[in-house]
Symmetry: C2
């Protein structure tokens, strides 16, 4: 398989590592506009060669686009236009509705499979690429009935090879669910980091006191703004709804605490414990 | 050393494990009002025997109170009154100002050392007790000048034996710092869990999609309401200030996203990346 990875960062680089090692890819071409990242990806052996869209896409068997979602939105149509008759094109972005709407009428629409492998770390760039990033995690494939059978199968094969479970939903459902389950988690972490940095200007104090659960909650606050700002912007409608709901819940808790309504305060915290059931099943799934 | 642990849960049980194994404690007496937890603590070998306040405290060398903070507040004065002339009394609660204010004029005040070992997990009860819970973490000792030298040294010895770094501040400073660095993290997790559980009533969807960073952010949402409600209530003034600041920061981000102010959105997320410096130093400290 002749594989082209557009955007060789954490996600693209980690995909490249696995496709190369498994023998799925015979050649991996990296397309990367950041020249430092491009050189790094080549040096780390994530890709066999660097290329351009015009020269690489037409003869590719599989193209995976793993740039920030604003770039995916810009590039998906031109890339699909360059695709050869057998080329499968997929994007691994965290939003789907806006991206798919850009090529809903594209003559090669059936060669495109929108996918979202739900995995990542708070690190970015080709040097952050790691093996087993995707193993045991979930990938969502959107709008499967609009992709041709052979293209759908090719992407499913890649996701399974990465060790992922495939889930199917439409782009609209996808964007709404991830707003609550993924995007809101990131916002709560980013903003928690800002709130604490703002008050505790002496970061030595944060360092000294951070052993009490702070680190896990705020870890996602290290994530790349270049990646996440476009995600929040493209999924604005759903993210704003999730954020409003979060603020409302926080205000309800604040009022309960402020009015010393002990039974309500406890009841709010007890409700949250419902998440234990979900997390326990996740961890059971891991073993 | 004759050690008495009042409240043998996650914290008290983990302290007991280490004091026993190191030989620091010759006998450990557990005082536990929950009969199931008491039986469990004895069965797990966390304590050598169960006792009552009246019988155990007067002849103890060291008393560690590790109940929820509302119970510490109720019990600190009667326990100190029961203390023998050489008994050192310490509490390991997460709030300090309210507790210490209850015994500021107690005739045995100098036998008391208010401490806060900043360690824990989202689990609770004697079966949650583990070894090395405290290792490498920070303990805060408050108002050190109000404790007698021998009592201060006894508590420092215990905290060092647990593997902790000791830090000193007054109760007021302590409560303000932990409101931002610890209590707010817990609230953001509890409320994030509620927000997501509220919208995603089908928990199977959360389970399926939770691989994208959700788990680490929401882990603290599993914490015990019996422990945390009294902490938030006792530290109400500071917690409300932290919560207000957090809501303001969230609203600023919401407005920026809503008005499509791309440069402000990115700048907010970039500021949050400042936390990387702090977290990286913590992890460097661990190795």
């Amino acid at each position: 398989m002749n594989v082209v990875i557009v955007g060789v960062g954490l996600i693209g680089g980690s995909v490249a590592l696995e496709l190369k090692e498994s023998g799925f890819a015979t050649t991996i071409t990296g397309i990367e506009t950041d020249s430092e990242n491009a050189a790094q990806a080549l040096k780390l052996g994530l890709v066999d060669r660097l290329g351009t869209l015009e020269e690489s896409i037409p003869k590719a068997d599989l193209v995976v686009i793993s740039t920030p979602v604003n770039i995916i939105e810009e590039m998906i149509s031109p890339i699909l236009s360059l695709a050869g008759p057998q080329t499968t094109v997929s994007d691994f972005g965290s939003t789907k509705e806006s991206i798919t709407s850009h090529i809903s009428k594209h003559p090669k629409r059936e060669q495109y499979v929108p996918a979202h492998p739900m995995a990542g770390t708070e690190n970015s760039g080709p040097q952050a690429a790691i093996k087993n990033l995707f193993r045991g995690k979930t990938a969502v494939i959107c709008d499967r009935d609009q992709s041709g059978k052979q293209h759908l199968q090719a992407v499913e094969k890649v996701l399974k090879l990465l060790g992922m479970r495939c889930l199917y939903m439409n782009s609209k459902e996808h964007d709404r669910h991830v707003a609550f389950v993924s995007h809101l988690s990131h916002i709560s972490s980013f903003i928690l980091a800002n709130t604490v940095l703002d008050i505790e200007r002496d970061t030595a104090t944060i360092f000294d006191l951070a052993s009490g659960g702070f680190e896990s909650t705020v870890r996602l606050g290290k994530s790349s703004p270049e990646m996440w700002a476009p995600i929040f912007e493209q999924n604005k409608k759903n993210v704003l709804e999730a954020l409003e709901a979060y603020i409302r819940h926080l205000e309800k808790f604040r009022n309960s605490l402020s009015k010393e309504n002990t039974s309500e305060t406890r009841s709010i915290l007890s409700q949250a414990n419902g998440i234990r059931r979900v997390l326990d099943s996740i961890n059971k799934g891991k073993t």
